[in-house]
């Protein structure tokens, strides 16, 4: 037995074991030991993700059957380029968010580290799973961890945001199960590869069932991905939670996007026969409106954290538009933009956290207040993150937007995409320059007596911000990788027996 063969399961297994061990005596109750343990696990996860990425580039998609039950009956994990890119992104983000939390935020409430590990486990599992029911299970794992992480540290606003978030997601889970039931009744299987293969050959009677099931799932994934009528929970939830948690949550909307890729692009995609392109008709107007609503909300933001949360909605709208385009180029551009926007929104949440700590009572509100203690350092951080998120050269946002514009230029309604995309960039520029000039220049009084930001927090921000120029420098290989991942996703489905090793 070769360890490399079982490597696929490690991104789920490692955080699960770590989460359990963190609750047991030698580690339980000792913050220092927990920090070191989780840091080590995060490094291991990063290495695993790199190894998996190499493997998926070299050998193509691999399916791993838990307990060696044969597909389509057993529990399948699938590692292809798309999944391993997402795993790598999660590992990087969780490493940075955890490093930031270690500077003191983790001690504000109990069980931060175990919950963090369970959250990472759920996210990794959702990216790896090869059947829809386990997608549901991993969704629930990441959700229940996120419910508790969300109220970490306590406070009125957090509880209020958590009530909305939890109740909405519980209702979403019920809908998910309804959708699953309908799909199982129509397909007789829940294995994604098997469903994709069977989609074109469904009986005429089952087509309507399958359609309603698929659209129910679109509602659920739309709730996670912040699709328009379902996005109202997001800004408050992200803005009111603690900084490292908000940074980690930057990947959560992307789990929704990823699930839409896996279900509506791969299963009900171009080869779905009568079911082909089922979601596109709905995604078009809703994604467009999400983007517009995000832009309006960005312009109305009152604090830097709220602004960042609304920028997350804008990036979700942009990604949903690339999903609505539904071709290989658009998916590849979307994947590039997804990596960029996850890392930079997380970075901006952290920067907002640092500014909030240094401005005394005015926190991160856009009002005249005390100057920050480290104007130069935070100013440079803010500038880099802002330029990246606006989409200005020389940072990754520019490349991401160019790729999306290029992919959409062939589409019939290019103007419908170009206009809101460019306007969203303009709105982000207006608000971020207003935010920056208010927070850094419109100051009065003396800076608070403090030593400035903890080194660990600065390291965390640097880790995320550093990725942005790197994504430009290695833009060639990276966009080739995203293109290859998108091609795998859009490929004609084959019978599940042929995917098996």
């Amino acid at each position: 037995m070769d360890l490399m063969q079982h490597l696929i399961f490690f991104p789920v297994l490692l955080p699960l074991l770590a989460g359990i061990l963190l609750l047991l005596p030698p580690l339980n109750g000792h913050l220092d030991r927990q920090r070191v343990a989780v840091f080590l696990i995060n490094v291991l996860l990063l290495l695993t993700a790199v190894a998996l990425l190499q493997k998926s580039i070299a050998a193509g998609p691999q399916m791993y059957m838990m307990g060696d039950w044969q597909a389509p009956f057993g529990i399948a994990l699938i590692n292809d380029r798309l999944a391993s890119v997402m795993l790598l992104l999660t590992a990087l983000l969780s490493l940075a968010a955890h490093t930031y939390a270690c500077a003191g935020d983790d001690g504000r409430g109990p069980f931060f580290h175990p919950l963090f590990m369970f959250q990472v486990m759920g996210i990794n599992g959702a990216f790896l799973t090869g059947d829809i029911f386990n997608l549901f299970v991993f969704f629930e794992i990441l959700l229940i961890a996120s419910y508790s992480l969300l109220i970490h540290g306590g406070g009125k606003q957090r509880t209020q945001a958590a009530v909305h978030y939890v109740l909405l997601n519980l209702a979403g889970s019920s809908f998910f199960l309804f959708g699953l039931g309908v799909l199982y009744a129509a397909f007789g299987t829940l294995n994604m590869a098997d469903m994709a293969h069977k989609a074109a050959q469904l009986d005429a009677d089952d087509i309507a069932l399958a359609k309603s099931g698929a659209l129910l799932l679109l509602v659920v994934f739309g709730l996670k991905a912040a699709l328009l009528p379902l996005h109202f929970w997001l800004p408050r939830t992200y803005a009111f939670t603690s900084t490292p948690v908000a940074a980690l949550f930057a990947i959560m909307t992307k789990v929704g996007i990823y699930s839409i890729w896996r279900v509506h692009t791969a299963i009900f995609g171009d080869y779905g026969g009568e079911l082909a392109g089922l979601a596109v008709g709905w995604l078009w107007p809703l994604a467009w409106l999400t983007l517009v609503a995000g832009v309006v909300a960005v312009l109305a933001s009152q604090t830097l954290k709220m602004l960042t949360a609304n920028l997350v909605v804008v990036s979700a709208g942009t990604l949903l538009l690339t999903l609505a385009l539904n071709d290989v180029q658009a998916t590849a551009a979307g994947l590039y933009y997804l990596i960029h926007s996850t890392l930079l929104s997380a970075a901006l949440f952290m920067i907002a956290g640092l500014i909030q700590e240094q401005r005394g009572q005015s926190q991160d509100r856009f009002v005249r207040g005390r100057p920050v203690v480290q104007p130069v350092l935070l100013g440079i951080f803010f500038m880099v993150a802002a330029l990246g998120l606006i989409g200005m050269p020389p940072f990754s946002g520019f490349v991401g937007k160019i790729l999306i514009l290029q992919a959409s230029s062939a589409a019939v309604d290019a103007a419908w995409i170009w206009a809101p995309l460019l306007i969203s960039g303009l709105a982000a520029m207006v608000m971020l320059s207003r935010a920056g000039s208010t927070l850094f220049w419109r100051a009065q009084g003396q800076p608070a007596q403090s030593d400035g930001a903890e080194p660990l927090k600065i390291v965390a921000v640097l880790l995320l911000l550093g990725a942005s120029p790197l994504m430009v420098v290695f833009g060639g290989p990276l966009s080739e990788l995203t293109l290859a991942a998108a091609e795998e996703l859009h490929r004609a489905p084959v019978a599940v027996a042929e995917v098996m090793p």
Binding site: Q160, L170, S174
Partner: protein, 125 residues
Amino acid sequence: METLYAICVGAMTTGGVFLVLRGYTFAVVLGLTLLSYAVNLFLFASGRLVVNGAVILGESDNYADPLPQALVLTAIVIGFAMTAFALILALRARSDLGNDQVDGKTQIYDELPNKARNARQAGDD
């Protein structure tokens, strides 16, 4: 049997959705519980209803689909945990925010309990 079963699931879903749309956290939690009961029954039916059928080979002439039963079991466990969490969160919101409104506002938007309260007061007078 299918009709009766479908009516049961439908009625529970209707009740669940009605309660979920209410303004009080307790009603919403009850609604979510009803929804999860409905969804469990629904999942069970997704493998087609079979009377007197075993899931183990060689036990009977007609077989039931074992997969939905496994799915329901998982869904029950998860739904149970989630309901418990939602209840605890509702209690915490009650103490943190000082009221049991979903929005956390003191003004009461939910009309039905108000009507009942007014009727009771009118009866007292």
